[in-house]
């Protein structure tokens, strides 16, 4: 009963004031059940998803006799509180911190208790990237200009040549268009109801009324398979002007492909699948820029794809998803490596689609070292320099 010591210690030292804040620790509580409740609050304040039910179950464990041994008590709380391998690591530290903190040590450092790896509140990141530096100035003016011609013009304008004012406007248009795109893709998948197997269940049920003759046939179409999509977005310096719209584009795709995995890369690879599930784009950008210390720097595509294959390939390339690469192919790394990794990737993907903003330029040929090396393993190669070309993707994806 090692961990009960702090409780005794507190009585001896005469510190009886109990702090009701969330950061209460074992030595501040009076009974073991109070300690367990306090511990679950402690865990919650460190980002664990621990509710009343979990607390109750923790108390149940104590009742079942798991309390008599420190280790089994820890293990059982671990099984109840943790929901992922990462949380299991953090839990160990939390457990120690909560049950083993000696009040004597705490006097000076009371305010500094923090555990590595917990979910701290997001800092407000400064965003000076994605080509959208100062946005306030022309907001009003931008709204005055609109109309069909304007929309058409903007749809064809290269992202990199947009003026500040146009960016705002195009964002609005893009949002609308992307929403439609998601909707249309959905609808297209739902069609062809007429085909498919006969649904015996409904047919038989109806046939009873006709004395057992199956007059009305009900059919059951194959449930459209939801495609899995893996997106790799280049956020290096050369892509700066495009990344913002492309990221927004990825967010739009997310609504349609429920199993969407997204990554950004420049010199290293970062998984953003979880982050883009949040609904507000500016919030998403904040988080991503915070995670990425290498926005708008050089590109090592080959190494990043290698990292993807190594780290996530086994997990995410199951069941051959479509892989979408958004990059200009300007690689500072070794083109041979890129070529090799692309072949590996292609072997496990259903289809590799490469969208290159530079392809929209007149007279562009994929001669850049990286692009040239990657091209043999790319199934379809398209441009992505303006809104119209992004919307094109609808057709490509619908066919796949």
């Amino acid at each position: 009963m090692n961990f009960l010591k702090p409780v005794n210690a507190i009585k001896q030292t005469g510190i009886l004031r109990i702090n009701q804040s969330m950061k209460q620790q074992a030595f501040q509580t009076k009974s073991i059940s109070e300690s367990i409740v306090a511990f679950s609050q402690f865990a919650r304040s460190h980002g664990f998803n621990v509710g009343i039910q979990e607390t109750q179950e923790g108390l149940c464990c104590a009742k079942e006799g798991l309390l008599t041994n420190r280790e089994s008590f820890k293990y059982s709380l671990k099984a109840i509180f943790c929901k992922s391998p990462e949380e299991r690591l953090v839990f160990e530290k939390l457990f120690l911190l909560f049950w083993d903190t000696n009040p004597a040590d705490l006097k000076e450092t009371k305010s500094k208790i923090s555990v590595q790896g917990t979910l701290n509140k997001r800092k407000v990141a400064s965003l000076v990237m994605l080509g959208r530096g100062k946005t306030e100035i022309t907001k009003e003016e931008g709204k005055n200009v609109s109309g069909a011609n304007e929309t058409e013009r903007l749809k064809r304008t290269d992202f990199s040549k947009l003026s500040q004012m146009d960016t705002e406007l195009l964002e609005e248009i893009a949002q609308k268009m992307f929403k439609q795109l998601a909707l249309r893709l959905n609808r297209r998948m739902k069609e062809c109801r007429r085909k498919g197997q006969i649904s015996l269940r409904r047919t038989i049920r109806r046939s009873i009324g006709y004395g057992g003759e199956p007059i009305d046939l009900f059919r059951r179409s194959q449930k459209p398979k939801k495609q899995r999509l893996v997106v790799l977005l280049d956020v290096s310096g050369s892509m700066d002007k495009y990344s913002y719209f492309l990221l927004r584009f990825i967010c739009a795709l997310r609504e349609n492909f429920r199993q969407l995995e997204a990554f950004v890369f420049s010199t290293s690879l970062i998984r953003i699948s979880k982050t883009i599930r949040k609904s507000r784009l500016d919030y998403v950008l904040n988080i991503i820029s915070e995670q990425a210390d290498n926005w708008s720097s050089g590109t090592r595509i080959g190494e990043c794809i290698h990292e993807f294959n190594e780290k996530y390939g086994k997990l995410l390339l199951n069941g051959s998803p479509i892989v979408l690469v958004l990059s200009d192919g300007l690689d500072t790394g070794d083109p041979a490596l890129l070529g090799k990794e692309m072949i590996k990737l292609q072997r496990r993907a259903r289809k590799i689609i490469w969208l290159n903003p530079l392809k929209g330029m007149k007279g562009y040929t994929p001669t850049a070292g990286g692009m040239k090396a990657a091209l043999p393993s790319v199934d379809s190669f398209h441009n992505a320099h303006n809104l119209e070309s992004l919307l094109e993707l609808e057709n490509i994806l619908a066919d796949a």
């Binding site: 006799g65 293990y75 099984a79 992922s84 269940r201 009873i208 449930k223 398979k225 997990l315 995410l316």
Partner: protein
């Protein structure tokens, strides 16, 4: 709760008892895992097991069912798994026949309908089976849940909290004995938080050298110490390398078994080449392993 208390569990009162009992069925579990299993039995909460392939996630369900002397009901998940193959379906052929047979009787339409939608015509799929068990609580294994669709996960959520299933034509069926549920996942996708919250969680990783030797010894009782040491050491080294498919414990056992079956008493150049296919499952891996084996001798 109307669900009755389950008997065999009463015999198990501590985690050490679980470790001992599991050992009888050749399953090596550490204190932490045993505690989790103990909670599964006591709190009647589903257990979510995650970890790489081949470390005994599925095996524990089998062993647990033997230990509790109860039935194991298994549902293998896959993309596109639907209610018809997971919960229940009507036996349509039989129903059609039933309707034909009733043609000349004077039964009303309602009576006829009632007849062909009775228990007799119901095909029970694993989930329904698991809550219709009459004798004692079964072990329900829902394998590789990460492969199923999110819709199915949502359905499961409902089942795991109330343990009842509604069939429109028959009514609601409640579990007489709440099954012990074990869910496994390889983490190919993140499961929903809601589902995770309803489960206990445990991560099974690759075992340490000592533990793996213990496991292989349990599963392949005839193995000699020297061979055992070599096999496990090799597999542990494989796991440190970058391979297309990292071998799990089940591959170690396969390898040990195939070496013994071929009459080898040690891992040498010949036996290594002959049997490598039972532990490494890709040609690149095999070539890489061979090169390294001959380089290091």
């Amino acid at each position: 709760m109307e669900v009755k208390k389950r008997n065999p569990v009463q015999k198990i009162n501590s985690t050490t008892q679980i470790i001992e009992a599991l050992e009888k069925y050749h399953y090596v579990a550490d204190e932490e895992f045993a505690t989790t299993l103990f909670l599964l039995l006591k709190l009647q909460k589903p257990l979510l097991l995650e970890g790489p392939p081949g470390v005994g996630k599925t095996e524990i369900a089998l062993v647990l069912s033997q230990l509790l002397n109860t039935k194991l009901i298994r549902l293998q998940c896959y993309e596109g798994l639907d209610i018809n193959s997971a919960v229940y379906e009507w036996n349509y052929q039989k129903q059609l026949l039933g309707i034909k047979l009733q043609e000349d009787t004077n039964l009303s339409v309602e009576e006829k309908e009632h007849h062909i939608f009775s228990n007799e015509y119901l095909l029970r799929r694993p989930l329904l089976q698991s809550i219709m068990e009459e004798e004692k609580a079964p072990v329900l294994l829902i394998d590789e849940l990460d492969r199923s669709d999110e819709e199915f996960e949502a359905f499961l959520l409902e089942l795991l909290s109330v343990f009842q299933i509604s069939i429109p034509e028959l009514g609601t069926i409640r579990a007489k004995y709440k099954p012990y549920v074990i869910l496994t996942s390889n983490r190919t996708r993140e499961l929903s938080d809601a589902l995770k919250r309803r489960c206990l969680y445990h991560w099974i990783g690759y075992p340490s050298l000592e533990k793996e030797m213990l496991i292989v010894k349990k599963r392949v009782p005839g193995i000699e110490q020297h061979l055992l040491q070599q096999v496990v050491a090799h597999v542990q080294a494989f796991r440190q390398q970058k391979l297309a498919k990292t071998p799990g414990v089940s591959e170690t056992i396969d390898w040990a078994e195939s070496l013994i079956a071929l009459g080898h008493r040690e891992v040498n150049a010949k036996s290594f080449e002959q049997t490598l296919g039972s532990v490494l499952k890709s040609i690149e891996d095999i070539n890489q392993a061979k090169v390294e084996f001959f380089e290091t001798g």
